[in-house]
Symmetry: C2
Subunit: 398 residues, 2 copies
């Protein structure tokens, strides 16, 4: 047999990272490879209580079909969550999505025609590149440095390519862990308004800061840059701060865009699980989120500190990196100092042999991959494991 | 501002039914309009117990990211559920989807290029037509009669149009409530194998039979028709039998198709809520499903009987219909006997004024709408409400 599959499938392939994950079953391996939060920190008691309340007080709503836009109480709860972060937001100003991955899929479905160009950071979230390519997008990379995307280059690329949208993870991005500076945030908003180009702000990590809070989101800042809010779409998620398994994300955008995303969602999955939505709504309502955030910030801050210290101690000038101020990731580069390895793909193979896993950086680039880069997650290993894992990295590099 | 939306949005519009649903808030209205099960029959205690077990025994898995293909224990549970219905099925032979709506979306994403033709029943599930059109499909209608799709006409259409796929709801379809006969089921499978055309069997209602079980699914019968299984995709759902709010459906198909659907799902929503999946898995494992099915079959059978009797008594020969043997719907036609109304759209407006709602049939046709048809759901009103509602229909028609 030979099924006549759609042409769009030729634009993508299953993630190289996914293949690497199959190796992680090896006994005793220490993994810095994941892109997920630590299960041990899930507030199981809080979620048990929330789902109990949902089933006690609104079993019909929690188990029945619901509005495509989202469960009313959750939209209210999420609007409140965004307001607390300085965003002027009504419940009707957001729709609930099945994780923020679906928000990206809906944005692509609503905006991208075959052959359209989109601009992303180089490096960026791998599943975004693939998601956009499935809709036929040509994905262009804008360079980043330690202050985030280089806005002058971004403006040149916008002028040159007239993209349908620009996709950014301004705060503790995956994989870069980087932070877009306040000055550049304002410039990005000015670019959006001046060039009338849709900017998509993906913000799953913004609440995971370790010291001072990061600059406000593009969305929060848009009130200071006339005309920019209309050209901004924002993707939020409970996955990194509460639980990925709920699959609760949200999309905020201009009403015209949101209405079309809702229509597309109607024919994609009808609505996000009301069972999960009602649970999340009761969780937010119970007021547990601030304590949960304090806890994850504290634990991830310790782990990030431990990893940074160990990397300097064990690997010295063979790697360079910027200490992350939040999020889940170190983004590092092999320098080749003293004749050490410069190829992160080869480094990853040797590391697996030494009993430690991470993800090489090349797949995170839509264009011009930098083969010396790699991503280390500090989220799921405790401090002892992190120190041991970094020692193994040093042995792999020796 | 004017956002440059994708061309595909011009192929569809938000469901006319959705607009009608906004009228249902009117106090005292009796609704036969819904396409959903009765919330009062949800096994809330069983689901509370199942989610409790999931959070007690596997909180990490239930709240963490999971495999795109689905949560292992649920795949096993669903494979067992299908085996009990005569289908040879391993856990790896299905993927879990966010409702069967997502299975349709993934099939479209994997199969349909702009301009491709697909064949559906006339009438068929409205969201399928819209979903396929969003991928640029040209949707062709095959006629149905009281024994389901007319297979001779279907073969002619396949030969004429060379469609990418044929979409059928063989058992108690929405909106027709119809049942494809055993003989025709075998012929459909022969057509699939002979013409090498993908047949999609959507089967959310097959378990909701009132007397004798219906003929086996196309999937179960495919073992009797050499070569047909490779050309068959099957969409299952827990929505109509357990709870729509879980958003748990599943897709079975040839391994090559399933692998591609999994890749597309990875970039659509990463995976279906593990929170909902683990809950469903524990529910199935607890063995509560047979009693749940007995209960919903018994209640819906009573309601279907009451509606059929009332329609004959109150509307006489002004309407024609086949008494459904399962599912949630009556599909009826205004005959115009004695000079009564023949336009179901006008009938629906008058009915709302009389305090009863239903859905006119025309939107369910991809081509050549029959304006005399309409759909009545007997699922959510009890017997007294059904009798009163049908009296109101008679007043609206008088």
């Amino acid at each position: 047999m030979s099924l006549p599959f759609a042409q769009r499938l030729q634009n993508v392939e299953t993630s190289a990272i996914r293949e690497l994950f199959k190796l992680l079953g090896k006994p005793g391996i220490i993994s810095f490879a994941g892109g997920f939060p630590d299960s041990a920190m899930f507030d199981v008691a809080g979620l048990r209580s929330a789902v109990g309340q949902a089933l006690d007080t609104e079993p019909g709503a929690a188990l029945q079909y619901g509005a495509t836009e989202g469960h009313g109480p959750l939209r209210s709860g999420l609007a409140g969550f965004m307001q607390a972060k300085g965003v002027d937001c009504a419940p009707e100003g957001l729709i609930v999505t099945t994780g923020s991955q679906q928000a990206l899929d809906l944005l692509a479905k609503v905006m991208i025609d075959e052959g359209d160009k989109v601009i992303v950071e180089g490096p960026t979230f791998l599943a975004t590149i693939q998601c956009f390519r499935l809709y036929g997008a040509q994905v262009i990379s804008a360079p980043v440095d330690e202050h985030g995307v280089q806005v002058d280059r971004l403006e040149q690329l916008i002028t040159e390519h007239r993209p349908k949208l620009v996709y950014l993870i301004p705060t503790f991005g995956n994989p870069s862990g980087g932070l877009l500076s306040l000055a550049r945030r304002k410039k990005v908003l000015e670019l959006a308004a001046r060039h009338q180009v849709l900017v998509v702000e993906d913000d799953p990590y913004g609440d995971l800061y370790f010291g001072e809070p990061p600059p406000p989101s593009l969305l929060a800042l848009s009130s200071q840059v006339p005309g920019s809010r209309d050209w901004l779409a924002y993707c939020g998620s409970l996955s990194k701060v509460l639980s990925p398994g709920l699959r609760v994300g949200w999309l905020m955008a201009h009403a015209e865009l949101l209405a079309r995303a809702t229509m597309c969602k109607q024919f994609s999955d009808a609505h996000t699980s009301t069972f999960a939505q009602a649970t999340a709504a009761h969780y937010l309502q119970a007021g547990r989120m601030p304590a949960t955030l304090d806890q994850v910030r504290r634990v991830y801050a310790q782990r990030a500190q431990a990893m940074g210290t160990a990397l300097v101690r064990e690997l010295g000038d063979a790697v360079s990196f910027t200490q992350p101020q939040g999020g889940l990731f170190f983004w590092a580069r092999l320098t080749g100092a003293g004749g050490t390895l410069r190829d992160a793909g080869e480094f990853a193979k040797r590391a697996i042999a030494e009993g430690v896993a991470f993800v090489p950086g090349a797949p995170f680039y839509a264009q011009n991959p930098d083969a010396s880069t790699f991503r280390l997650s500090f989220a799921t290993a405790d401090v002892d494991k992190i120190e041991e894992g970094v020692k193994r990295l040093a042995r792999a590099l020796a």
